[in-house]
């Protein structure tokens, strides 16, 4: 009963190119579910298959147990907010919003009152009689949402709904979108390539790459426990430390030798054997950067290095520190910048330290994923 919307082994090929490969997952009723991935990863194809514009080559799509794979778009209980809104330029805002109800041959009085209600919901009541080219980008966005929602779809599909807007507006609309979702309680399927957008709005995220679903989970699960280097590098920024397990100390921890860095302590995200090659993802904000060696603590890893780059970002400063042949990114938050102790600067000798359980041992590592980091390592990782 929680399996509200189900993709069951859905595959789509365009010629030799596999756009979506055996996608199987379920979306729960009322949640905001994001499909996240770089352009060309198949997320839009998946969305268009749900909307009915593309027919899958294999697999089925079910909504509340009903197979909708073969239905034409106009007969599916879903509506879409299109990437560039696709508002009808020859119709007023009111007529745009009322279009779906008119297609459903609803009585005029009902259409009018429903449109009024939607205009009120998206706060555009005084713009109802304008044509789309007379309103701003953010307003168009809201019309597109209203036009879809007025039909009370069982799932609302949002195809990069904020991509055409500038940053501040995007952040504001994101909050509005969340409010609308709370108000209507409809299931949202949200397609985006922007990880901050996905993190901010979704209950769960599916990360896609090259037609394959890499990981599905809550934003925190995906951020804190990425399964592979792609997810780790695509969501947020990270450091990759590669090495070999030396000893499996106990149930929870192991020791590993990292190339050029030395021996560190690892948390066993999965059972590890001595001699096994591992890759560790370590988020920059988990690393403390100090001018003095931290007090010894068996749960803490501490290494020494030299600051190579410093970038002041306002709320924090990011450092790149050379340790052996590795460059490690670390962050330092500023709660009281001007009153703070003297901050490390360029060419300073510093100590980096992190708790062993703040790292995440990946189950899969690919060198090319390091290209996704904000500053890729200078040579091969």
């Amino acid at each position: 009963m929680s399996e509200f919307l189900v993709f069951d082994g859905v595959t789509k090929r365009f010629g030799d190119f596999v756009a979506v490969r055996e996608a199987s997952f379920a979306i729960e009723k009322g949640e905001i579910f994001a499909l996240l991935g770089p352009s060309g990863c198949g997320k839009t194809t998946l969305l268009r298959m749900l909307a009915g514009f593309i027919e899958p080559d294999e697999g089925r799509i079910l909504i509340e147990g009903e197979d909708i794979t073969k239905l034409p778009p106009e007969r599916r209980p879903v509506n879409t907010v299109f990437q560039s809104y696709a508002l009808f330029p020859h119709l007023t805002i009111r007529d745009n919003i009322g279009f779906g109800l008119k297609m459903a041959k609803r009585p005029k009085s009902e259409i009018d009152s429903e449109v009024d209600r939607m205009l009120d919901l998206v706060d555009l009541t005084e713009h109802g009689d304008k044509k789309p080219d007379r309103i701003s980008g953010g307003q168009k966005q809201r019309v597109a949402i209203a036009r879809a929602l007025v039909n009370k779809p069982r799932v609302l599909l949002l195809d990069e709904p904020l991509a055409a807007l500038d940053l501040k507006l995007r952040q504001r609309l994101l909050v509005e979108l969340d409010d609308i979702h709370d108000e209507v309680g409809i299931t949202f399927l949200y397609v985006t390539h922007d990880q901050t957008e996905a993190m901010a709005i979704s209950d769960r995220i599916a990360v896609m790459q090259r037609g394959t679903l890499e990981q599905i989970g809550t934003p925190a699960e995906i951020y804190e426990a990425p399964v592979n280097s792609f997810v780790a590098a695509f969501i947020g920024d990270t450091n990759f430390l590669r090495g070999k397990v030396v000893t499996a100390t106990d149930e929870e921890y192991s020791q590993a030798e990292i190339e050029g860095v030395g021996e560190i302590r690892l948390f066993n995200d999965r059972p590890l054997k001595p001699g096994e090659e591992i890759a560790l993802s370590l988020r920059p904000e988990k690393i403390r950067i100090e001018s003095h060696a931290p007090p010894t603590d068996p749960g803490l890893n501490a290494i020494e290095g030299i600051v190579e780059d410093v970038i002041y970002l306002g709320s924090m400063t990011r450092y790149w520190v050379r340790v052996g042949d590795q460059r490690i990114a670390a962050e330092r938050q500023h709660s009281r910048y001007l009153l703070d102790e003297k901050l490390p600067s360029w060419k300073d000798r510093v100590w980096l330290s992190w708790r062993a359980d703040d790292g995440c041992v990946l189950s899969d590592f690919a060198v090319e994923d390091t290209e996704l980091l904000s500053i890729p390592p200078d040579e091969e990782g």
Partner: protein
């Protein structure tokens, strides 16, 4: 807007020198002769053809000849029908051209344009051969019993309509395609998504979306259709005559030039109506769109 900014003198002179050749030529050989038609319709006929001395309303009184309203009505009716059919064909073809990939599109476009580069007279003549009493169509239709032995395909209004559609359909396809090329086809997806069938989406979203192209197509088809001469002359016969034929008859048979001028004035008025309508529509639209600049050259 500051389009009326003061120009320096050399620039002003350069504008005059670059405008003069074409504007002068067209003023002398197009604008003045066109106005001359109206003026000369108030002249008496010369004794040996041409124009006589003084002024006369004779040509305009002769317009009351009962055969003229019939011919005028037929001209308008056939032209409107031809325009409607051309648009009806142009819409799906323009849609397909807009929807297809670059390669298919260039082939289709070429196929539409090539016949239009072949001699007009020859294309009309080809239909005369096809519809000829002993031609392909009639023989085929008679042998299948679709039409009787005595039915003629040639020399009637239907033949004129058919050939007009044939001759003018590229003029409808090209402007509609030009609009369809700029049309955002995601709008059709949006309409489908909101519950419209593909046919309704076509009518409610595509057709209004290419309305500028349709408007241009109406002008491009209706006006030459109203001024048709060769088509009714070759395939129309006496029951398919249009105003163009009457003008030619006055010039070449009676040599009554004022009479021809009066008929041409009538034709001019009839053809000006759709142009004015299209201009008014354009103006209304550009006002509705707002301050995007009423640039006459775009």
């Amino acid at each position: 807007m500051s389009e009326l900014r003061r120009k320096t003198n050399p620039e002003r002179r350069a504008e005059w020198w670059t405008t003069l050749p074409s504007a002068g030529w067209l003023l002398i050989f197009f604008a003045i002769p066109t106005l001359l038609i109206v003026v000369m319709s108030f002249k008496p006929a010369g004794p040996y053809g041409g124009f006589g001395e003084g002024w006369s309303l004779k040509a305009w009184v002769d317009m009351g000849n009962p055969s003229y309203p019939t011919v005028l009505w037929r001209t308008i009716r056939l032209s409107l029908a031809a325009t409607l059919i051309c648009i009806a064909l142009g819409l799906p073809v323009g849609f397909l051209l807009g929807r297809s990939d670059a390669k298919t599109r260039s082939i289709l476009l070429l196929l539409v344009v090539v016949p239009f580069w072949t001699n007009f007279l020859i294309r009309v003549y080809a239909w005369k051969v096809l519809l000829h009493p002993s031609g392909f169509f009639r023989e085929t239709l008679v042998s299948f019993g679709v039409i009787g032995e005595n039915t003629l395909l040639l020399y009637n209004e239907w033949a004129v309509l058919l050939v007009m559609v044939y001759a003018y359909v590229p003029f409808a396809i090209l402007p509609i395609y030009a609009s369809a090329e700029k049309f955002d086809f995601a709008l059709l997806d949006a309409a489908r998504d909101l519950g419209a069938s593909s046919i309704r989406a076509f009518w409610l979203v595509f057709v209004p979306g290419v309305s500028r192209g349709v408007m241009a197509a109406v002008v491009m088809v209706l006006i030459p259709a109203l001024g048709s001469y060769i088509i009714p002359e070759l395939v129309g016969g006496p029951t398919g005559e249009m105003i163009g034929n009457k003008i030619a008859q006055r010039v070449f048979i009676d040599r009554n030039w004022p009479h021809a001028a009066a008929l041409a004035t009538v034709l001019m008025i009839v053809t000006l109506l759709p142009v004015l309508f299209a201009f008014a529509q354009e103006k209304r639209e550009s006002i509705a769109v707002g301050k995007k600049g009423g640039d006459a050259s775009s």
